[in-house]
Amino acid sequence: MSSQLVQPSEEYLWEQYEDRKQQDESYLVGMWTFLSTEIMFFGALFISYAVYRYKYPEAFYAGHEYMNVALGTINTAVLLTSSLTMALAVHFAQKRKRWMQIGMLVITMFLAFGFLGVKFVEYGDKFREHLVPGYNFEWNQANVNRLEASTAPINIIPSLKAGSLPADSAISHDAQMYFIIYFAMTGLHAIHVIIGILIMMVFIVMLVANHPSVRYHMPMEMLGLYWHFVDIVWIFLYPLLYLIPR
């Protein structure tokens, strides 16, 4: 794929491979295979989302009202930018420009921390509003009033006419389902972000130390693919969770 960018060198060849071409291609096939596994990982949650959104459209609408769209949008921008810097880091790895690569990785990591920080603020808001599913989840008349006062186009779901939303336990459970799905999906995504950060840290340390194994550009490409996957998952999560009526 990218072996034409730098001259193939036999320097970083594991003993099970015949040549660098075979090794590079094995890395690529392996990473894409792993990403297909990852898709199925999130797939189980996406199908749960579909099932419950179909079953409880009102509750999903009600739940999304508590999403901070501004923060979600900022986070989308942050993550997309980090994908760009990661792509640049891969580019500089291929060109063997070590310090540029380190710089790009540091920026990517910084953006990833920013993403987590915003997520931390959002999760904190949910804690304060008693919207974290579990023992402390609360859904009462106040939530319903707020929903009815909202300015969003409420005619999307006919049963959401003013005054028609009971604050009884049924809608409470249904609304809780939205937040379970929300925390499960964004939580699994955040775990992937954290793993990405940890790998970036290892890379940065090894690059600064000029460790021989990071002179080989394929591991960096693998990290890039992983990071783009994390980014793409968020591109699906953002509209599904934040932009329900739009």
Partner: protein, 560 residues
């Protein structure tokens, strides 16, 4: 398959440097990156788990000898069959052939020095050990009583047993499967020797490839589903609990989306083993190579579309029931294609009944029985009667024990000389194969009748009129146990006392027999082989052997 080796590097007279004597310290095993040593470590670990699961099975059969069993309390019985299921499925059957025989043989069969990612392979063993250890600890420190299916809301709300810890173990072991799958897919795609095209691959490799696809696409789904059960249990959520608006059918959908394909994880590699054994002991090229190869892929793909037949009576819609029923019938087609091709291979062959062949023949018979009774269960109306009876239990044991374990034992006997460099005692092996076959049928055939008469599964009290058949089944289980103990004894015996195995004791085709000494050296091939012939070219090999009757054929020289 024929091979030109440019130079024969290992003289017969010198003591060989093999993967077994290349380092004798514990560290040289625990930190090895050699796929052969990792396969041996997997063999030892899954054998230990088999003993645990087998012990649970023994207790179950002992309890069921009398209608009102006095051996165990209800709770203990529930924990016993749960332990049997969890250990046998997640920690024995699923890793059995892929992680042991596949790990050992696939790189050699395709002419590679190792798997593509040896360190990942080692990690996969450690994850297996950690997962198995956690689950085993949970089961021994109080057990789990949900059955291996973990149906909600029982598992997530009501069960007071160690559900969380067991699931954590299974979750971790799942990554072991995923990494094994990634390794095989990359290795088979990228590491084949020159000339070894896809349609020259041994069919065992095709089967492992299809299995890996299921590993990759199925395992993550059950991992996340079981993780949700743990969250529901620990945080008091209602994801799958109808009392909180959750949908238990969703759990069943997600669970069977993995767990039905998991059956094909168990059976496909066994089919691959049988595809190796049958041509060798019939001395004929395999009949319908392409059909067998593609039927493996077809099983892997169709396998993902039939999960709903586990939920015919769970409240799933009638229309999805009808579609799943139809699709379940369809998957019988590729399975039947394989069976017909194996029998056609044997037709007019020169058949010899060595132990691996006996196991392979046993596989064909038992798998056919298991497959055909599966069609009863795939029929909507029949399943309403037969669901959750011993008919189901008998059916899936015919597939998993009669099919998967017979294939595993056949493969173990077939490749034992290659793996250890020692021959096992043929006479005892034949006796064990016959005992296994008879004991198996005695154990599980009565269960078909019991189920048809209406005995539900997972109950340990039953009406007295069922006792005769239950006793028959328990006696059969005792016989079956001997069928497994005898090979365990002579395999261990053969490690020291068995006669030294030649490079190719079966005169079989394939790189692992033609190119590599028994046991193989650490890096398998001194010089990578070049493949010039189709797989299973026994007519060519026998013709060559006749013309070179006196000369040694060990190096595979002289052709092309």
């Amino acid at each position: 398959m024929s091979v030109t080796q440019l130079e024969n590097t290992i003289p017969e007279s010198h003591p060989q440097k093999t993967y077994l004597n290349d380092g004798n310290t514990i560290g040289s095993w625990l930190l090895t990156k050699d796929h052969k040593r990792i396969a041996i470590m997997f063999l030892i670990s899954i054998s230990l788990m088999f003993i645990v699961g087998g012990w649970a099975a023994t207790m179950i059969r002992a309890e069921l000898v009398e209608p009102q069993g006095h051996l165990m309390s209800h709770e203990t019985y529930n924990k016993m069959f749960s332990m049997h299921g969890i250990v046998m499925i997640f920690f024995f059957l699923i890793p059995s052939i892929p992680a042991v025989l596949g790990n050992f043989m696939v790189p050699i069969m395709i002419g590679a020095r190792d798997l593509a990612f040896p360190r990942l392979n080692l990690l996969s063993w450690y994850l297996y050990i950690i997962g198995a250890g956690i689950s085993l600890a949970a089961m021994l420190s109080g057990g789990v009583d949900t059955g291996w299916t973990f149906y909600t809301p029982y598992s997530s709300v009501y069960s007071n047993t160690h559900v969380t810890m067991t699931i954590v173990g299974i979750f971790i072991a799942g990554f072991s499967s995923i990494f094994t799958g990634i390794n095989f897919i990359v290795t088979i795609h990228k590491m084949r020797a020159p000339g070894l095209t896809w349609f020259r691959l041994p069919l065992f490799v095709w089967a492992i490839y299809a299995t890996s696809i299921i590993f990759l696409l199925g395992t993550p789904v059950i991992a996340i589903t079981l993780a949700l059960v743990v969250l529901e249990r620990t945080l008091h959520l209602g994801i799958f609990n109808p009392a909180y608006g959750g949908d238990p059918i969703l759990f069943q959908n997600l669970f069977w989306f993995y767990s039905h394909p998991a059956v094909y994880i168990m059976i496909l590699p066994s089919m691959g083993v049988v595809s190796e054994i049958i041509p060798c002991f019939a001395r004929k090229k395999i009949f319908g190579y392409n059909f067998i190869a593609f039927s493996s892929l077809a099983i892997a793909l169709f396998g993902f579309l039939v999960w709903g037949h586990h939920m015919f009576v769970s409240g799933q819609s009638v229309y999805s029931g009808m579609i799943f029923s139809l699709l379940s019938f369809l998957i019988a087609v590729p399975s039947a294609v394989k069976v017909f091709n194996w029998t056609a291979t044997m037709y007019k062959g020169r058949i010899s009944f060595d132990a691996p062949m006996l196991y392979a023949l046993g596989f064909i018979g038992l798998f056919t029985m298991g497959g055909l009774t599966g069609l009863y269960l795939a029929s909507l109306t029949a399943d309403v009667d037969l669901h959750d009876t011993y008919f189901v239990v008998a059916h899936f044991h015919y597939i998993m024990v009669g099919g998967a374990i017979m294939g595993f034992m056949g493969g173990m006997h077939f490749w034992w000389p290659k793996i250890t460099g020692r021959m096992y005692p043929e006479k005892w092996a034949k006796i064990a194969a016959v005992i296994t076959f008879l004991g198996f049928n005695f154990t599980f055939f009565p269960q078909f009748i019991l189920g048809y008469m209406g005995m539900p599964r997972r109950y340990h009290w039953y009406p007295p009129e069922f006792q005769t058949l239950n006793i028959l089944s328990s006696i059969g289980a005792a016989v079956l146990a001997f069928g497994y103990i005898i090979p365990a004894v002579y395999f261990i015996w053969s490690l020291k006392k068995g006669p030294k195995a030649p490079q190719n004791p079966w005169r079989a085709t394939g790189l692992e027999w033609e190119e590599v000494p028994s046991p193989p050296p650490t890096h398998n091939f001194a010089r990578l082989p070049i493949v010039e012939r189709e797989a299973y070219d026994y007519e060519w090999m026998d013709g060559r052997d006749d013309s070179l009757s006196a000369a040694s054929v060990a190096g595979g020289k002289g052709d092309g």
